[in-house]
């Protein structure tokens, strides 16, 4: 079985975004983990693809250290200005070059939360796909996979034949922390770094960033618990429009 896992390096949004600390997108980490779980003890291959600046190599090493087999790195200093559409087009042209059975992506990236690339890539490749997967298993016959996805109301269980594409939620698993051995092995694994010209035009772009309007700090209700509760309910009755 050959997995292709699309990964991205993103700013660490849990901390100070301006710190410049970059991490493997959490949803992609879950995609790598899912591939590792499905290939455990088999001679399957997990190939990574990343589009990003030279410095994103660190993120590829991290995923290799988790246990992926090999990687291709499309090196572009301008990848930040590529929108989901042009990223998906570039990934699709690479997919046309290689063999795979299952393509995994994160369901969105932690920085832009756009969630488009996976579905776009599936459409380019004309693959059956599922998004927002929280569970992934082989069908008994290994000629397809069973995906559990989180839908609007409840979880949907789908069967997909191979080849197919799945986008993964971080609710699917807890990605492993690379072991020391994994980190050492990753240093020997090959990263095929390719400079590339982005020739697909982005149809969308970011004009600027703004700070969200700050909310007033909460009015903290004081006194004995009964008094706090009475004051709260009074406020709810007067202000919520629900009563």
């Amino acid at each position: 079985m050959k997995f292709l896992v699309c990964i991205k390096q993103v700013p660490d949004v849990s901390g100070n975004v301006n710190s410049g600390r970059m991490v493997l997108n959490a949803y992609d980490a879950s995609a790598v983990e899912a591939a590792l779980v499905l290939t455990e003890g088999t001679d399957s291959e997990i190939h990574l693809v990343l589009i990003g600046p030279d410095s994103a190599k660190e993120t590829i090493r991290k995923a290799l250290a988790m246990g992926a087999s090999s990687a291709v790195h499309f090196v572009s200093a301008e990848s930040d200005s590529m929108d989901s559409g042009s990223i998906a087009a570039q990934l699709a042209s690479y997919c046309a070059e290689i063999q795979f059975d299952i393509v995994l992506c994160g369901k969105q990236s932690q920085d832009t939360d756009a969630g488009l690339t996976g579905g776009m890539l599936a459409a380019h490749l004309k693959l059956p796909y599922a998004t927002n997967a929280v569970g992934l298993a082989y069908q008994d016959s290994y000629d397809g996979i069973v995906v559990t996805r989180q839908g609007d109301s409840g979880q949907e269980i789908l069967q997909l034949p191979l080849p197919c594409l799945v986008t993964c939620s971080n609710d699917m698993n807890n990605p492993r922390i690379p072991s020391l051995k994994g980190i050492m092995q990753a240093k020997k694994k090959s990263i095929d770094a390719r400079q590339f010209e982005n020739n697909s035009l982005s149809s969308t772009r970011i004009l600027n960033y703004e700070q969200p309007a700050a909310r007033e700090p909460a009015r903290m209700l004081e006194g004995e618990t009964e008094e706090k509760v009475t004051a709260l309910v009074l406020a709810l009755v007067q202000e919520s429009g629900i009563f």
Binding site: A122, S203, L232, V237
Partner: protein, 323 residues
């Protein structure tokens, strides 16, 4: 701009509130121009759809009525939408950003050659372009974005615009599903609904959300009872979903759902940005947490520092006295 197509999400013949917000917004924006709003809806039976969609301001309705739409399947919905887009030739297609829409938006953008701005909180359209604002970095920041093209898709976060009636008498055309589940390579095997999921979370006017501070069945019953007083939805943080006390469908936040009720209770939730990303659009936020320094109080309108196991029972009694 000519024609604007609005996708109306529905279930069992009832339009979703988030879609009516979008429809109403578009309809009011184009008032006085030559532009036309066409709604498309995909369901099994028409129910009250025609009437509701007319009330919220569609000029025309494309009703795709077919057993194929009983359950969500991306290939089936995508083919229906692509058909509606071909039939309408719009310059702009607007969606409410539900899980079903997220599932197909990228694919249909590629198949129709559209530029797409997902999950926006506001937008304005001109000839050949749309400018919009969308939360990024787990809603820590807002990006002003621009799309250009002959066909542009925009999906709008629930609660971003208002659903105000703007009645019209739309013409209706009915279609069958162009692609049925049996035509697809993938198969839907089963849908697992959580037993306690009676109210649609993203539609609820009141949401009571539980965090890791809710530790057991006793706490869960408090959450249910409080929600029950308002006919509200039950939400959850990722940490409490991981304890299996609440279903994953209830998760609110960056990974989970985005909700924007009139009233949001955060019970035993610390207020991590990934959670806040899914609820900070709520009109009124009440936080109950035993830690006075919990970040959730920075987002709340009212806060009570205390043990939810003592505060919530009193709260339930006090609310009952006012009902």
């Amino acid at each position: 701009m000519g024609k604007i197509l609005v996708h109306v999400g529905s279930q069992g013949g009832e339009a979703k509130r988030s879609s009516l917000e979008v429809l109403s917004h578009v309809s009011r924006k184009i008032a006085g121009s030559d532009d036309v709003v066409v709604a498309c809806v995909f369901d099994v039976n028409p129910g009250r759809l025609e009437q509701t969609i007319g009330e919220y301001g569609a000029d025309d309705i494309l009703m795709y009525m077919d057993p194929a739409y009983e359950s969500h399947l991306n290939g089936v919905l995508a083919a229906g939408l692509e058909d509606a887009i071909r039939a309408t030739a719009p310059s702009l297609v607007v969606f409410a950003s539900s899980e079903s829409v997220k599932d197909i938006l990228g694919a249909i953008a590629v198949n129709t050659g559209a530029a797409v701005l997902p999950d926006v909180v506001s937008f304005s359209a001109g000839s050949g372009f749309v400018e919009a604002v969308r939360p990024v970095m787990a809603a820590k920041s807002l990006a002003r974005v621009r799309a250009e093209g002959e066909l542009i898709f925009v999906s709008v976060r629930s609660g971003s615009v208002e659903a105000i009636k703007n009645p019209k008498n739309p013409g209706t055309t009915t279609f069958e599903a162009p692609i049925k589940p049996a035509d697809l390579k993938q198969q839907l095997k089963e849908i697992i609904k959580a037993a306690d999921e009676t109210v649609d979370l993203s539609e609820a006017r009141v949401v009571v959300a539980a965090g890791r501070g809710v530790k057991d069945e006793v706490g869960k019953r408090l959450v249910e009872e409080l929600a029950g007083l308002f006919g509200g939805g039950i939400g959850a943080s990722r940490a409490v979903v991981e304890t299996d006390l609440f279903p994953a469908t209830a998760q609110i936040g960056q990974t989970g759902k985005v909700v924007s009720p009139d009233l949001y209770f955060a019970l035993g939730i610390s207020g991590a940005i990934q959670h806040v990303a899914g609820m900070s659009n709520s009109r009124m936020i009440v936080a109950i947490n035993k830690d006075a320094d919990a970040p959730i109080f920075e987002y709340a309108d009212y806060g009570i520092v205390g043990d939810l196991y003592t505060v919530v029972p009193l709260l339930i009694e006090e609310i009952k006295r006012h009902k």
